[in-house]
């Protein structure tokens, strides 16, 4: 066994492969950081260059782009308040709030360290327990998916800030938004009013860019004019790096989030975004130190989300390499890469081409370490952007928002939809309705409804089918406790505003 890994290391560290990993990671970071180019698009765009490469070089390049992309999303999220990747939305909520408090550099370094930690954790988890993760993931049927999403939604009171009433309003609004479009079970059009734009539903990146990023600019425009955004005085690496005590303080979150990330990443119906939100929600639910800070710059939320979304890479790769099932859009691209090089990803691949499988395992470790250096450099460069004049900076953010909204489906209508959502977000914030629960519900709502209905179809209409398995029963019980407990503990919260 050790010999196989030694050999894999030797192959991966060959100069062309090393170069491919650095280039892949750089490209991925860029694609991840730029709104409008998702990680999977980033991987598609370099796929055609890999035809002529040797298989190993091609895979480390693509995996590099994949890991880089998931990591890169955090940069734009913190600095500009735009989710570079959907999986970085919780990072926008907490990280950008920290940036506005002048803690951009600290937030960036914390995010990077947590990302890398999550990534490495999941790779090691995957190396140790591939069959275990795959088996566990397969036990998730519609009933389990439903229970998982309900557990995720149940943290809404933790994200509501002051008033739970407004939090719940926001959450149900999000659930409604998730139902717009073609119904995934009947094919019926819901709330589309005959438009083609809404047929595919409210794209949640479009909604999030509007609700979070553009409305933020509008709120900021109300504040007195500043010449410079000027919140960062870069003080040198050692002063900015987070202290070890930070990680010790939140050790539970640091362990739990990558586990959530790895498992949810392995579920084909879920993925990095849902992983990030679940981990973020768990952090909000159990926050001991400063629960009131969630939504207003809680470093713990940032740590949870970023370690979970990076950890989803390990889960996704596990299910891909052991069963040939792509757990996410990006790993679907990797399937194409395998085909190009004459391999069929599936259960037999491990015995046919162990060199490739172990090579990818090892490459994922090396890429995570490389990312620490590459992204670390990128962060220092990106922080310089804070020296731009405030007005120009805001204009640039808006243009990036437009690119982000347009780029998903290359659709002008999506830009208009984004504008509508920015107005909604602006008024929600103005009147103290928190935006985070709405986005949480928008992310989870569709999966919640469809898996509920699938579960009912499979159980022949009997609601008992929802709790027949141990996993779904435990998850639903957890959700029930987490909804009821805060209401008993702090009934006053319901009214406070």
């Amino acid at each position: 066994m050790l010999e196989i890994y030694a050999q894999a290391f030797a192959t991966v560290l060959l100069p062309p492969n090393l170069l491919a990993m650095v280039l892949g990671a750089l490209w991925g970071l860029l694609a991840g950081a730029l709104p409008g180019i998702s990680t999977s698009m980033g991987v598609v765009l370099i796929l055609s260059f890999t035809y002529t490469l040797s298989p190993m070089t091609a895979f480390v390049l693509l995996v590099g782009a994949y890991l880089g992309g998931i990591t890169g999303g955090g940069i734009t999220s913190i600095l500009f308040g735009i989710p570079g990747e959907p999986s970085s939305v919780p990072t926008v909520i907490e990280g950008h709030a920290l940036a506005k408090q002048g803690k951009a550099a600290a937030a960036m370094w914390t995010y990077l360290l947590c990302s890398i930690f999550g990534g490495l954790f999941s790779v090691l988890f995957m190396i140790v327990a591939t069959p275990l993760i795959a088996d566990f993931a397969l036990r998730f049927g519609p009933a389990e998916y439903f229970a998982l999403t309900i557990l995720g939604l149940s943290v809404v009171s933790g994200l509501s800030g002051g008033s739970m009433l407004k939090g719940f309003l926001s959450c149900f609004f999000g659930l409604f938004l998730a139902t717009i479009g073609t119904d995934g079970i009947t094919g019926e059009e819901r709330f589309t009013f005959g438009t083609v734009t809404l047929l595919g539903g409210v794209n949640f990146v479009v909604a999030m860019v509007g609700l979070l990023a553009v409305s933020e600019i509008m709120i900021e425009a109300e504040e007195p004019f500043k010449e410079y955004k000027g919140m960062v005085e870069y003080r040198g690496l050692l002063q900015e790096l987070p202290r070890f005590s930070l990680f010790r303080k939140y050790w539970l979150t640091m362990i739990r989030s990558p586990i959530i990330g790895t498992i949810v990443g392995a579920l084909p119906g879920a993925g990095a975004t849902i992983a990030a939100f679940l981990a973020y929600g768990e952090a909000a639910r159990t926050a001991k130190h400063e629960p009131q800070k969630f939504g207003k710059g809680a470093i713990e939320g940032l740590m949870a989300a970023e370690s979970a979304n990076n950890a989803s890479t390990g889960g996704s790769m596990t299910i891909l390499l052991s069963l040939g099932i792509p757990g996410s859009n990006t790993t679907a691209m990797l399937v194409a890469a395998f085909m190009i090089h004459g391999m069929q990803p599936g259960p037999l691949l491990l015995s046919q081409r162990p060199d490739v499988i172990y090579g990818i395992f090892v490459a994922m470790i090396v890429i995570n370490l490389l990312l620490l250096v590459v992204a670390g450099t990128a962060i220092r460069l990106f922080l310089q952007l804070n020296r731009l004049p405030y007005s120009v900076f805001s204009a640039a953010i808006l243009i990036l928002c437009v690119v982000g909204a347009f780029g998903i489906n290359n659709s002008v209508d999506d830009m208009m939809l984004m504008f509508v959502f920015s107005l909604i977000g602006y008024f929600m914030r103005k009147f103290g309705v928190p935006v985070a629960p709405c986005i949480l519900a928008l992310v989870l709502g569709d999966l919640a409804e469809l898996s509920l209905r699938r579960a009912l179809l499979l159980a022949g209409g009997s609601p008992l089918g929802l709790v027949s398995g141990p996993i779904s029963a435990v998850l639903l019980l957890g959700a029930l406790v987490s909804i009821v407990y805060p209401l008993i503990k702090k009934p006053k919260m319901l009214g406070a505003s």
């Binding site: 999977s40 698009m41 598609v44 055609s48 035809y51 993931a137 397969l138 036990r139 998730f140 049927g141 519609p142 073609t182 119904d183 995934g184 079970i185 009947t186 094919g187 059009e189 083609v196 734009t197 047929l199 595919g200 579920l267 084909p268 119906g269 299910i319 069963l323 040939g324 099932i325 792509p326 757990g327 859009n329 679907a332 691209m333 194409a336 085909m339 004459g342 069929q344 990803p345 599936g346 259960p347 037999l348 691949l349 489906n409 290359n410 659709s411 469809l450 699938r454 179809l457 499979l458 022949g460």
Partner: protein
């Protein structure tokens, strides 16, 4: 100084504008194509349609002086991309990658653009093969056992698919209807979810395109009970074909290319010629071989494609009526 700069940039942009206008006026005389051809794929990047379109496009690129771009325009179950192409000028610069879902759309009363009335087919490029797939641990060992169970327990047989009211549901329900079984169709979001649900034992099986499931079938994790075709599949020589078991059902997923109706015939001819050459490109040939898309001949010329579309649409109309999607 600053005023000067503003003046300068204004003059500059004016000059550019005029230059652009000039380009337009000379363009009429030039040969087709005098700019890049756009292929609109009405699905997201990386899906089956996208991969197929890009594989063909790769072979077309060297034959076109101004190149071509593949644009993904997902949304509304392939409606959005189709609508977009139907609104572009009929000049041959915008080509739509058509799939079976557009034919199904043509049956529905709410359709926003009609594939037969608003488009001229260039050619059919692929004709995929599906199979009836169950878990490797399933109690159903042969297609007869499955049909038997289905006949004795109407609606208890649960099969997964992707698009409700779309190709996936139609092929599942129509296949089982041919053999006299009432099946419960459970729609999922993606092929990956379906495979995981079958492997995890959450659902009986699915009627799915074979290429993607082959690795799992070869590993024994999934089992193909029959391939929906008139002969056996070369990659699965032990699996019977539908026709050989007396099931007269051979429909498969189709991919074709079309332009807006009214595009000048000589431009259509030019595009068809380029596509035909691209289909012979060795890279493309290897691609369809690897993905078993060459099991049945895919290519059909424009007239044959139109005729094939008309037949398929008539068939879908019947199935959708049965399912209650069309009243």
């Amino acid at each position: 100084m600053k005023k000067k700069m503003v003046c300068l940039s204004l003059t500059l942009s004016l000059a550019l504008l005029l230059g652009g206008g000039f380009r337009i006026s000379t363009a009429q005389a030039a040969d087709f194509p005098e700019r890049a051809i756009e292929i609109v794929v009405p699905f997201g990047a990386g899906g089956g349609s996208d991969t197929a379109a890009r594989a063909v496009a790769e072979g077309m690129k060297p034959l076109l002086k101004h190149g071509l771009v593949v644009t993904n325009m997902p949304g509304g179950g392939a409606t959005k991309g189709m609508l977009h192409v139907s609104q572009q000028p009929a000049d041959g610069y915008t080509v739509l990658a058509v799939t079976t879902s557009h034919l199904i759309d043509a049956v529905k009363p709410k359709t926003r653009a009609h594939i037969l009335n608003d488009f001229d087919p260039l050619c059919r490029i692929q004709w995929d093969t599906s199979g009836v797939i169950v878990s490797g641990e399933s109690k159903f060992k042969t297609i007869e056992e499955l049909i038997d169970y289905g006949k004795k327990n109407p609606k208890m047989l649960k099969f997964a698919g992707t698009s409700p009211g779309g190709w996936s549901e139609i092929q599942t329900v129509a296949f089982f209807k041919t053999v006299g079984v009432q099946v419960t169709f459970v729609p999922f979001d993606s092929g990956a979810e379906i495979k995981a649900a079958i492997l995890g034992g959450h659902i009986h099986g699915a009627v799915e395109e074979l290429a993607e499931t082959l690795p799992l079938i070869n590993a024994g994790k999934l089992r193909a009970l029959c391939v929906i075709m008139d002969k056996r599949h070369p990659a699965l020589p032990d699996v019977p074909s539908a026709v050989e078991r007396g099931i007269n059902y051979t429909h498969g997923l189709m991919r074709a290319w079309a332009v807006r109706k009214g595009t000048p015939p000589e431009r259509q001819k030019f595009l068809l010629e380029v596509i035909r050459k691209a289909l012979e490109n060795p890279t493309y040939v290897k691609y369809i071989k690897d993905n078993h898309l060459d099991v049945r001949p895919g290519y059909l010329g424009p007239e044959e494609t139109r005729k094939y579309w008309e037949e398929e649409i008539a068939f879908f109309a019947e199935v959708l009526k049965d399912l209650g999607y069309v009243k």
